[in-house]
């Protein structure tokens, strides 16, 4: 249906062309005679058909942001209206694709234009000629409700594409095709509704700026397991939640986003490279087909969609890339999937918003940002959520936005306003990054507001007391932070033994647990079981060491224990499928403690 519509609208818009450009300022052009047009309407500028969107109408003058370079345009150049909002095409074939900010497949652009991206390429997101195997899940006469699965398509070996009954539609199936090969534009089902019949194809088209709400929003209560120890153990994120990663350049935002995209237990990953480096997208494109999803053993690319507007691509398409991404996310969520969306970096998106606002001569309020920056951020992060998408079926979108504060200063507007709309804040600390303590997530400035829900999940699903173990680790770290201030004045040796033990245990936690090397084949991902065992081991170590130190054992005997280096390196030496090696370390640890205990008792006896 979409193809026909498009052809029709092309014809009418050519006829409906009223006038052309009369002003140009960078990516923003103005056209007159547009009184009938709508804000958010898609237009094509010039006979090169550069995509643009109406962002303001004043009298009969429309202001248009053009998604491509405007060099060479001039007064009188025609503008073609379409009567449709800026939309993204949805259907099988999205997975594994790399799209630009307005959802054009970059591989198609390359086929047409070569190494560099030229102007005015028309490239459909969804291939019209490719045939997909559609397997119906309903019969003629079945009553269906919104979100119900009509049929499935094996899009990749790990992702079943589901064609569901559209929101707001319910009725009886009046026709459904038998299992077979179909193109995306062929009718696969027809639903008889109270308001007439509704035909269904595999191809959909959704406006990108409008939220496609969940049928029923629910409280996020299941963690997104990331395999990143500092996150899963200390500062978790829930499926359907929202998180921000602020950090100056080099603090580790991108590597962390790549790690989350690689190892999170989501069904679909949408990775938006928003105003960042070209080579970082190439890196993902090279690595993801090679990396294996730890759950299915299949290449990660089979569940991933990339959206790339690199820093040298048009800034207007940077603004739209975020909406394109989250709309695709909502589409897969409505199939009943858990989607994780990474945006690197939301600051570049905010700057794109700022730049357009500046060209519109809107009043800047703070650092040049327009007054509606918080509203725009809220709209985006509120598209995260967990809930019901159909009868007995649940889906979610988790949003993780990187933030790039100028000068690494978190008091700037984008970081501050983002904080209002997210619930997990992974603050990256430059000093940790300088020491190559990665991920450089500061345990002092970071927080997660999902602790209660996650504790419940760990208790019910994994039967472990995650909350108290977490609390215990955090308290060691925060006491260490206080003690370090004293150490700066008097040196560590002047502290009493029990306090020096805290420094020692804190360094085991930091180096042995929190630091996680994304380049190490074993270290880069830890199962929850391994994470939990590691923490448990460190806790047991502390218990026994504490007793001995209280009993008078000099602290250096603890600091010189042979098992220390094993605890520091178990993260990279013990693979997930060889956890029994941790038992061996525990045994060794206990033996060493037993010996220390004995020596303490004998020296006590001597004294007594």
């Amino acid at each position: 249906m979409a193809t026909k519509d498009r052809e029709r609208s092309d014809v009418t818009t050519r006829k409906g062309l009223i006038t052309g450009i009369n002003a140009i300022n960078g990516p923003v052009v103005k056209g007159s005679g547009m009184a009938e047009a709508n804000v958010m309407e898609l237009v094509y500028v010039s006979d090169e058909r550069l995509a643009g969107e109406i962002i303001n109408i004043d009298g009969d003058i429309a202001t248009i942001q053009v998604y491509e370079d405007t060099t060479g345009l001039g007064p009188g150049v025609p503008i073609y209206r379409t009567g449709r909002p800026l939309s993204v095409e949805l259907g099988p074939g999205l997975i594994g694709n790399v799209l630009d900010g307005i959802a054009r497949p970059l591989n198609l652009i390359r086929e047409k234009q070569g190494v560099f991206i030229g102007r005015g390429v028309q490239a459909e997101t969804i291939d019209r000629s490719k045939k997909w195997t559609f397997a119906p899940q309903v019969k003629v006469g079945d009553a269906v409700v919104p979100g119900q699965v009509l049929g499935t398509i094996p899009e990749t070996p790990i992702l079943e594409h589901r064609i569901v009954v559209p929101q707001g539609v319910s009725g009886k199936i009046s026709s459904i095709v038998p299992e077979g090969e179909y193109t995306v534009t062929e009718h696969v089902a027809e639903i008889e509704t109270e308001n007439g019949s509704e035909t269904v194809t595999m191809l959909k088209e959704w406006p990108v700026r409008r939220t496609h709400p969940l049928q029923k929003r629910m409280k996020p209560s299941v963690p997104l397991i990331t395999g990143q120890r500092v996150i899963d153990a200390l500062f978790p994120l829930a499926k359907g939640g929202a998180a921000a990663i602020p950090g100056g350049f080099g603090a580790g935002k991108t590597v962390l986003q790549h790690q989350l995209a690689s190892w999170s237990d989501a069904d679909v990953i949408i990775y938006i490279g928003c105003g960042e480096r070209g080579n970082e997208m190439t890196d993902v494109l090279n690595e993801f087909p090679k990396l294996k999803d730890p759950r299915s053993g299949r290449p990660l690319m089979e569940r991933t969609i990339l959206i790339a507007n690199t820093s040298n691509m048009p800034v207007t398409a940077r603004e739209s890339s975020i909406y394109t991404g989250v709309t695709i996310g909502e589409y897969f969520r409505d199939m009943g999937y858990h989607v994780a969306l990474m945006a690197d970096s939301t600051s570049r998106w905010a700057e794109a918003v700022r730049e357009i606002a500046g060209r519109l001569e809107e009043m800047p309020v703070e650092e040049g940002f327009p007054a509606y920056l918080p509203a725009r951020l809220a709209e985006f992060y509120e598209r995260a959520g967990y809930g019901e998408v159909g009868p007995e079926r649940y889906g979610s979108i988790t949003i993780i936005g990187a933030v790039s504060p100028p000068g690494g200063d978190f008091t700037e507007p984008v970081t501050q306003n983002t904080k209002r709309f997210i619930r997990t804040f992974w603050a990256l600390d430059k000093r940790l990054a300088f020491a190559r303590h990665f991920p450089a997530i500061s345990w002092i400035d970071t927080y997660s507001e999902y602790i209660d829900e996650m504790a419940k999940w760990w208790k019910e699903e994994k039967k472990v007391d995650w909350r108290s173990l977490r609390q215990r680790m955090l308290s060691v770290l925060s006491r260490e932070n206080e003690l370090q201030k004293i150490v700066q004045i008097i040196g560590p040796d002047a502290l009493p033994s029990d306090q020096r033990l805290i420094l020692h245990v804190a360094s085991l936690i930091k180096e042995g647990f929190l630091q996680q090397n994304a380049m190490d084949d074993i270290d880069r991902y830890s199962t929850p079981e391994k994470e939990f065992r590691m923490l448990d081991l460190i806790a047991k170590y502390e218990d026994r060491a504490e007793k001995l130190v209280q009993g008078g054992l000099p602290i250096y005997r603890i600091q010189e224990m042979k098992v220390n280096i094993k605890l520091l390196t178990m993260k990279q030496e013990v693979a997930d499928d060889k956890l029994e090696e941790l038992d061996a370390i525990e045994q060794e640890m206990n033996q060493e403690f037993d010996e220390l205990e004995k020596s303490l008792v004998t020296s006590d006896e001597k004294k007594g």
């Binding site: 140009i24 001039g74 560099f116 070209g278 190439t282 494109l285 090279n286 730049e355 100028p406 008097i490």
Partner: protein, 464 residues
């Protein structure tokens, strides 16, 4: 567009901009020639079109424009440069006109200086290790062919010497291919430009160098196009002629100031320190013209020099640069005062591409871990030095004292190397020598097998 259109009289002059009214058929970005009442011709570019009013950014300044007598000629095309291999060995001004007395290159293709974005799916991820012979770089901030890495510096520091040394010494171990140099000067002193020219001559590489010079007393607005002209030539040499191109651009801060001047005249909303909000995208449109692409054997490696006003790394120019480039080499005045050359502050320095270009099959299998351990241990040295400055060195624990020894050795022998040109093996061995000053229990970032192979216990007991 239809040929050359002449327009008489300008409506208004504002900084580097002239406004012309009553124009027709002007296109965005097109080149215009402004002819003063004395007949002098200056070039500019259309920056805003509003109805029949056009604003032109004039590269060579707008002094002595008169509103009635000044003529404007619209060229009908955007700014281009003629690219050819003939340009090697030549010197041009900031807009690509010969400065060396010889005629302009005859052959060649006209290319738009703005270029176009490389499609991310057309890129080849850079992986080839460049040996610069400098330990702080090769060992800990490895340069990769096709990478963009700026030198962050400030006045009085030897950034030119370092850049020249890199140009002189850069090789790909085991490969014959040589680098071709594109040198871009933006608002630099005559002395500095002469220093580079001298360096290129001494190393006998002059016929492999193209120079674009916009010096300190050249028109400042011209600087906004100089790097674009140069990078257009670099792209041609790399992607059409399969050469490995090393681009040295200095000084990016001057470039940004010129950009700010235009932005202010145009009335753009100022953000930090008066720079326009699009400074990030503008810089990216230069820095991203780096790398390797499918279908070409060549590459572009960029080494921009960024001087940090007040040695402040949070200043918008170094800050936004660091957000775009693939790492940075930071120079440190304190090390410089101690006579250490090169005075590279390794902790804030970074090479984002080294992860895939070092280690087994690239440099040496212990390289990633040695680098990581040097970082960790040297960061610890900084903390201990802070404590020592308060409580005194004597009060430190034995282990902490060893860290101070390690720190001193690291700075005096690993960092400090003068004009010595080290192989990667020499660099890594020196790294181990430094690490041997620490007890083996402190080396948790090294693998057991690596320690067994390389760490000589007590080897350094006799070292100063």
């Amino acid at each position: 567009m239809n040929g050359r259109r002449i327009h008489l009289g300008v409506a208004r002059v504002s900084g580097p901009l002239v406004f012309v009214k009553g124009t027709e058929n002007v296109s965005y970005g097109e080149i215009a020639e402004v002819v003063t009442s004395f007949g002098e011709v200056r070039r500019g570019r259309v920056l805003i079109i509003d109805g029949d009013t056009v604003a032109i950014q004039v590269f060579e300044g707008t002094s002595d424009f008169s509103s009635a007598d000044t003529k404007v000629r619209f060229s009908g095309h955007s700014l281009t440069v003629k690219v050819s291999e003939e340009m090697l060995g030549r010197v041009f001004d900031g807009t690509g006109r010969p400065l060396d007395g010889a005629p302009p290159p005859i052959s060649g293709e006209e290319r738009d200086i703005n270029g176009a974005a490389i499609n991310p799916v057309s890129r080849v991820y850079p992986k080839n290790f460049i040996q610069t012979g400098i330990s702080a770089i090769d060992g800990m901030n490895t340069l990769i062919r096709g990478q963009k890495v700026p030198i962050f510096s400030s006045s009085g520091l030897p950034h030119n010497r370092l850049a020249a040394q890199i140009v002189r010494q850069a090789t790909i171990p085991g490969e014959e291919s040589e680098f071709v140099i594109v040198f871009v000067a933006m608002g630099v002193k005559h002395d500095d430009a002469a220093y580079f020219e001298e360096t290129f001559r001494e190393s006998g590489a002059l016929e492999n160098v193209v120079m674009f010079l916009n010096l300190a007393d050249d028109p400042s607005i011209e600087r906004t196009i100089t790097p674009r002209v140069a990078l257009t030539v670099a792209e041609y040499l790399a992607f059409d002629r399969d050469k490995h191109v090393l681009v040295v651009m200095t000084d990016m801060t001057n470039y940004c100031e010129a950009l700010r001047e235009v932005a202010t005249a145009r009335g753009d909303v100022p953000t930090r320190k008066g720079y326009p909000g699009y400074l990030y995208s503008d810089l990216a449109s230069l820095y991203e013209r780096t790398g390797r692409v499918i279908g070409s054997e060549g590459s572009i490696t960029q080494i921009p020099i960024v001087s940090m006003p007040n040695n402040d790394i949070t200043h918008p120019v170094p800050d936004l640069t660091g957000y775009i480039t693939e790492g940075q080499i930071v120079l440190d005045p304190k090390l410089h005062r101690q006579g250490i050359y090169p005075p590279i502050a390794v902790l804030p320095s970074l090479s984002r591409l080294m992860k895939d270009g070092i280690g087994e099959g690239f440099t040496r299998e212990d390289h990633p871990n040695v680098a990581n351990q040097l970082y960790g241990s040297y960061a610890r040295v900084q903390q201990i030095r802070n404590i020592a400055s308060i409580i005194g060195e004597e009060e430190l624990s034995e282990v902490d004292k060893k860290y101070l020894k390690f720190g001193d050795f690291f700075e005096k022998h690993f960092l400090n190397q003068g004009d010595e040109n080290r192989t990667i093996d020499e660099t890594l061995d020196l790294g181990w020598k430094a690490l041997e000053l620490l007890p083996v229990e402190e080396l948790s970032r090294l693998k057991k097998a690596q320690i067994e192979k390389y760490y000589k216990k007590g080897a350094n007991d006799a070292t100063p």
